[in-house]
Symmetry: C2
Subunit: 327 residues, 2 copies
């Protein structure tokens, strides 16, 4: 999107400015993933919503930076927990600097997220709205931690239901999308109903985003994705694909499938076999259709808002991009 | 102190109420250290200062909870980084639940710190002061992370100077004491000069506290301390004792001392030998006298404030307790 390209430079400038400090190694480790790339979906969503309710970009920018800093904090810590070695086509923070400094780099990003958000005050957002936005940010950080805990807990279980999966991704992924949109609306002074509807738009989009993420983890082009595919299988993630596949397999296939799932020493042929079982089960099509359903619900909520026409179109496109993207 | 005992129940009730949630395992891991005990020095400092400037305890309580939650977050993560197995006489979070969940438990405590602080709004603190307090809290969390990074960096170096040590503990420890006092004053509506002087009182007290902590790490009664003594030597911490001792040793002793320092496989006799070198060098007396100097400076700043007489006495006692304590 043109809009995304335009605001991205200003956004990245602000983010990287908050990540200059001493000791150098800590700040370098904190900035590493952000410098490696990323789609900046969440901050762009926040900026677009704020603009759609009449707030100038300059004033919303600290909140956008905050959302991206918080997101990257969760990535740095998740990569340690999931023992992931690559992301955004570069080695993960703990692979380069070790676990101890990576924990701390994540903590710093988290602190910086709040620091950035509170800069809203310096850009003329009134104190009441700053407090409201900060409450949303702390809610999101709590909820994302709960979601990641569920995600890890599910790895140890073979009876995770689709319903539980949705609760988990709602917390792990959708909560931050929702919060990004809500904060955008709040700081622009939108009323409660608008905040609710735009939040629901973003929440449904976030669910679709995670489903698509799970699909890409199996079928994507590895170099486009920037991280190893099939790692979800190796880590034993209970994605919607895995849950659906498990419900379709014969007892024997199921036994084999479960022996590969979460086996850190699984050979590449075994991972490919498990991926083939997923594909053959029809899980990809099932998940794609679920994702589309959520995108449609998302757009339904969007249509209930009174957001500026031109931004409306952009947000609709954003929701549609979620299911079309290849990385 | 009578005051501490009285407010502690109410404080702990609020803290533990914020740590009820799902998934259970995550919340249990988060509450573990808090339930194990702790002195609650920082929140009590905050409450006393707020009271000293005329704010009722009920209104200051969320900020006090926030400071303690933030402190415990740093302990949980530091214990992972330092590979410490015991604290407050119980196994550390990562020793029980593993590193992944311990990282997440720390993250949750961090999020909950901001959630608690923002509850100030619900207890009638005006929005401007809430934003000011939140800025102080985010500054503290940034600064503590920088301090911990320095602490870890110093473990790899044998040429750390006393000046560098003071910069490190200023960030790692004193920053949170300072912030506790400042937030107490801010939410009570104290003016800038009061906030500055009470902050300096607490900062100097925090420095004395860390020096005393380093001393106790060598000479304390292990069961009173609640964690293994001599672990600072095993981890290679560059404490003021170590820096002083290194400056006094012969070349041969120095070589031996450095071979033990930071050696995770050092035998208990070797650790005791290193501790003996520290004691024989006069480092304990040197550090004690430094700590006393900082307590005196602390009280000097306190005397420049216009804090309520009765609280003044309590804060003076608190500063004096810092160097007298045995745990």
């Amino acid at each position: 999107m043109e809009y995304a390209k335009r605001v991205r430079n200003e956004l990245d400038e602000l983010i990287l400015k908050t990540l200059i400090g001493e000791p150098k190694e800590l700040y370098e480790a904190s900035a590493h993933l952000l410098k490696a790339g990323g789609k900046r979906l969440r901050p762009i969503l926040l900026l677009a919503v704020a603009k759609g309710y009449g707030l100038e970009e300059f004033k919303a920018m600290p909140a956008a930076a905050a959302i991206e800093l918080l997101h990257n904090f969760t990535l740095v810590h998740d990569d340690i927990m999931d023992r992931d070695a690559f992301r955004r086509n570069v080695p993960t923070v703990h692979s380069i600097w070790g676990e101890a400094l990576a924990i701390l780099a994540g903590d710093l990003l988290f602190s910086k997220a709040f620091e950035a958000l509170l800069m809203l005050e310096d850009r003329g957002i009134n104190h009441e709205l700053v407090v409201k936005a900060a409450k949303k940010l702390s809610w999101a950080s709590i909820t994302v931690a709960e979601g990641q805990a569920l995600d890890m807990e599910f790895e140890k279980r073979s009876d995770v239901t689709e319903e539980e999966y949705f609760i988990m991704i709602e917390k792990k992924t959708a909560a931050l999308f929702k919060t990004a949109a809500e904060i955008g609306a709040i700081i622009a002074g939108a009323n409660e109903e608008e905040v609710y509807n735009i939040g629901e738009y973003a929440r449904h989009m976030g669910i679709a985003f995670q489903i698509k993420d799970d699909i890409l983890g199996i079928i994507a082009d590895e170099s486009k994705l920037g991280k190893p595919i099939l790692s979800d299988i190796r880590e034993g993630k209970r994605t919607i694909l895995v849950i659906y596949t498990l419900s379709k397999l014969t007892d024997e296939e199921k036994k084999k499938f479960l022996s590969i799932l979460g086996n850190r020493n699984a050979k590449i042929e075994e991972l490919r076999y498990a991926a083939q079982l997923i594909k053959d089960s029809g899980a990809i099509e099932y998940a794609e259709s679920k994702a589309k359903t959520y995108v449609n619900k998302s757009i339904e909520y969007l249509s209930r808002t009174n957001i500026m026409k031109e931004v409306y179109e952009m947000l609709r496109e954003l929701a549609e991009y979620i299911v079309l993207r290849e990385k």
